[in-house]
């Protein structure tokens, strides 16, 4: 090691730094593609629009029929059966909902609505008060 030529060390050091910098930049690019992909996959997988849409269909039903006994009202029963049967056939989702007696809540009368949704991957249950 004696008499080693020590010239040009800065150049060598800078070369090393540039290489390390490139290494990290490549790592960031590599990961970013993956992040966008998995996010979009997650969004597509979760049936957000299906659930939102189902809630609105049920709210339309509640607005129209309230909590009439479906057995005694053929019109309400038909709409309810439509929602359940078409959900199973076209969306592969088991759906059920129940409208209970109106209660007085926060100064307003509201129907408590129980909504159940299950498509085998995502299970969703909620009780919502519909004014």
């Amino acid at each position: 090691m004696a008499c080693m030529n020590e010239e040009g060390q800065w150049i060598v050091l800078m070369g090393l730094l540039v290489a390390v910098g490139l290494f990290f930049l490549a790592l960031i690019i590599n990961q970013s593609a993956l992040v966008g992909q998995t996010t979009a996959e997650g969004v597509l997988e979760f049936p957000k629009n299906d659930i939102r849409d189902l809630r609105e269909a049920i709210f339309d039903y509640v607005d129209k029929y309230g909590n009439v006994d479906a057995a005694g009202n053929p019109s309400a029963k038909a709409v309810r059966d439509d929602i359940i049967a078409i959900s199973l056939d076209r969306k592969n989702a088991v759906v059920d909902f129940k409208v209970k007696d109106r209660i007085y809540i926060s100064g307003q009368w509201a129907y408590p609505v129980e909504i159940h949704y299950n498509n085998g991957v995502t299970e969703y249950d909620e009780t919502v008060y519909r004014y």
């Binding site: 090691m1 004696a2 008499c3 080693m4 060598v12 070369g15 090393l16 290489a19 390390v20 490139l22 290494f23 490549a26 790592l27 690019i29 590599n30 593609a33 966008g36 992909q37 979009a40 996959e41 969004v43 597509l44 629009n49 299906d50 849409d53 189902l54 609105e56 269909a57 339309d60 039903y61 129209k64 019109s75 038909a78 709409v79 059966d81 439509d82 929602i83 049967a85 078409i86 056939d89 076209r90 969306k91």
Partner: protein, 169 residues
Amino acid sequence: MVNDSGQLYTMEGIAAGLVMLLTAYLILSTTSIYTQGDTHIPDMQLEQLGSDVLAMMDTPDREGGKNQLVEFINENNGGGFKDKFLEYCNAKTSGDLDTLHMSASVTYRKEDRIEEHQLVGPDETWTGRESAVRVTRWVQLDQHQQLSPRQPYGQRAQAVLVEVLLWRA
């Protein structure tokens, strides 16, 4: 006896070589081929656009006003539905129109059977290989008042499912 001068240079050279190899490997591995199965991000955006348009059409223009989607279905007006849907999809302030195409069907229940009625048929760009997205919307039809039967759904009040296939071509 081997000459032992320049050992540090040798080690440095090996280290630099390794870093360069690793970097080259990483850079090359980031170059991915964009395949059909890899279109999740545009699919997600297209699906959101489509379901927003359907939600907008399902909303009355004022309190007690007309609901466009219900009207198109009641009148079985597939052409009008297609024109309005694509117009809303392309509602932007400037730039070229998007090359979107669509087909639509309505699923309804008739006693124990689930039936499907083609509201808008696919156009000539449909080859079956498009990366199409499906957007859906529940629509509640009231009891039909007119004497003429509402084809093909029947007179009773009912909930039907509108399904739109949306693709770029």
